[in-house]
Amino acid sequence: MQTFFSIAVDAIAYGMVLFVISIGLSVTMGLMRVVNLAHGAFAMIGGYIASYASRDLGLGYGVAVLIAIVGTVLISIPIERLLYRRIYGAPELTQVLMTIGITFCIIGIANYIFGPTLKTIPLPAELQGSTNLGFRSIASHRIFAIVCGLLVAGGLWYCIEKTAFGVKLRAAVDNAAMAAALGVRTEIIYAVSFAVAVGLAAFGGILGAELLPVEPYYALRYMVTFLVVVSVGGAGSIPGALIACLVLGGIDTTGRYLMPEFGEFFFYLAVIAIICIFPKGFAGRVR
């Protein structure tokens, strides 16, 4: 029983970290319909900036996080204007090509500027160490990640489902030409959503850095993980992504505990089974 709780705690913690990192991708893929393989690259940029700000400039954690998010968004603006804008509504494979290209470039540049070593983001004292749950201890920063994940999930869900902006965004995605004909300034809507998605990526990159350390190859290394999580949840659905992260986190964690040597095997088998049962993901938006 204790083992069960223990695994459950690990699963939730891992799942929430995954959630925070991938939710931005769910926004770009599900709502903006851009297969953004460069999502990890933006998460990585966030991580690098935060690491630089806190390690080399000696700024506090909160400030570093803020700078990193703003910095990543600023970096993304020209990329959005010059590159992404050309692929909105393009065939998916074209988007794949473009965003892989962007990822390659960002990897190359990060490698050039920061070198190939691992970069860490020092945690503030409150988040270091472990918290005792009674039957076991858990790293404090994971509790922080769980809380952040829930806040992000709630906030995003509200924005997309309940605000005028959310309605316009979804309309623009469904049919950009028609939305424009009704006076929706689609470029602005897209730019803002893209910025939000990138900001979330950066935030996730920082928050997850304890688990997925920042290094130049980060952008490709975890691409598949993010893609899987988002699709199993159903792109564009916040609750879907949340469920997917918890379920996949659970399967991964349990598999790793019970039979680590087949961990990978069962994880992907589970993914196949889930998709065969829910061909649109847990909560795929009807198209």
């Binding site: 695994i7 070593t117 860490t120 290094e215 505990y257 961990g263 990978e264």
Partner: protein, 370 residues
């Protein structure tokens, strides 16, 4: 004449750091020994092989031999890449100097292979003795599920059982594991007094070591032993305090205290740019160049692979890592293996502090395979 050496390694991609170390070691050797051997000038031709890809490896080697006309093949970070090249060596008439790939069997695939790095068996066997000497009887082994991981598991098990201890459980985990908490739970539940771990150097070691701390294993007094891949110098700044006190055995520490190493580290640091990036593949490459220079001297610059290899069998010299010999039988390097502990220096940086030496270690892996 110009003598070309073809070096294949991961210069981009996820293992770019290791490839960079190859280049640093080679550059350091050329910087300190000049690029001339007799009348011949040496020229290095690099080819990038970002991840294990034997087919590509063979194509690159063929191209180096046929098109670039290299007389020596060197480098090779991954075992399968090195394996893929062995069948063409004879026809190409080129020796292959392995600067990293660490599976014992490679040297048996062709008589033209010489290795100046280490094998996982070689670095993982001594730690068994260390563990036993520390009073540990029951160990759980946790390794990445691929060739070198399996080697490490077997080497440790063989060594530890010989000492009289027992490996209570052997876990192999996928290479791509990110979250190690469940593994730590397994370790706790196994009732072992210590964990033996092997993970390839790089990002995942960070998560593993942190999980070891955060899940309270360290506090519970479960000891941690590993070969030195886990605490390669370039990962130490990221590992930080979490790694303090971890004991590993390895053939080389950047901190090794000898005049040869001082000179090497100075030259290699200059070559690599950022000294913090310096790590073990550099010394394999540096000594690999030493072997190649000796080969060129012995053949007078003529292309004669057999003669070249013959010339370095039994060759002994003092490497930055300490005294080494090319074993005439196996053509693998015999070297000292050091027990090190991660320590914080006065200036706040972390390093592997050598605390014990196992002298003149050969490769137990070859014997075990027989």
């Amino acid at each position: 004449d110009t003598i070309k050496v073809g070096v294949v390694g991961p210069f981009s991609g996820p293992f770019a750091l290791q490839g960079k170390n190859f280049k640093a070691g080679i550059d350091a050797y050329i910087a300190t020994h000049g690029d001339k051997i007799g009348d011949d000038t040496i020229e290095i031709v690099y080819r990038d092989l970002p991840a294990a890809d034997p087919a590509q490896s063979k194509a690159l080697a063929q191209e180096l031999v046929v098109k670039e006309g290299v007389q020596y093949l060197a480098g090779f970070y991954f075992t399968p890449d090195a394996m893929a090249v062995t069948p063409i060596l004879k026809q190409a008439n080129t020796p292959l100097v392995i600067m990293n790939a660490a599976t014992s069997a490679i040297v048996t695939k062709s008589p033209l292979v010489v290795r100046t790095s280490f094998t996982t068996w070689q670095t993982s066997t001594p730690i068994a003795k260390v563990a036993h000497d520390a009073g540990v009887e029951k160990v759980i082994s946790v390794v990445s599920d691929y060739g070198p991981g399996v080697d490490a598991e077997n080497a440790f098990k063989a060594g530890f059982e010989k000492e009289g201890g027992s490996v209570v459980e052997a876990i192999r985990m996928p290479l791509s594991t990110n979250d190690f908490s469940p593994i730590m739970q397994r370790i706790k539940d196994s009732g072992a007094q210590a964990v033996f771990a092997f993970l390839p150097s790089g990002p995942t070691t960070l998560g593993f070591v942190k999980a070891y701390n955060e899940n309270g294993l360290k506090d519970a007094g479960i000891k941690f032993f590993a070969p030195g891949d886990l605490t390669q110098e370039s990962d130490l700044p990221a590992l930080g305090d979490a790694a303090l006190g971890i004991q590993t055995t390895f053939h080389y520490a950047v901190s090794h205290d000898s005049p040869e190493n001082k000179a090497f580290v100075e030259a290699a640091s200059k070559a690599i740019g950022n000294p913090a990036e310096l790590s073990f593949p550099s010394v394999g490459a540096y000594d690999g160049m030493h072997v190649i220079y000796k080969m060129i001297e012995a053949t007078g610059g003529e292309q004669d692979a057999e003669k070249a290899v013959e010339a370095v069998k039994g060759l002994s010299w003092v490497s930055p890592r300490g005294p080494v010999t090319i074993d005439p039988e196996s053509r693998h390097i015999t070297q000292n293996i050091y027990l090190r502990e991660v320590t914080k220096a006065d200036d706040g940086t972390y390093y592997n502090k050598e605390i014990q030496t196992f002298e003149k270690q050969g490769d137990p892996g070859l014997a075990a395979a027989k």
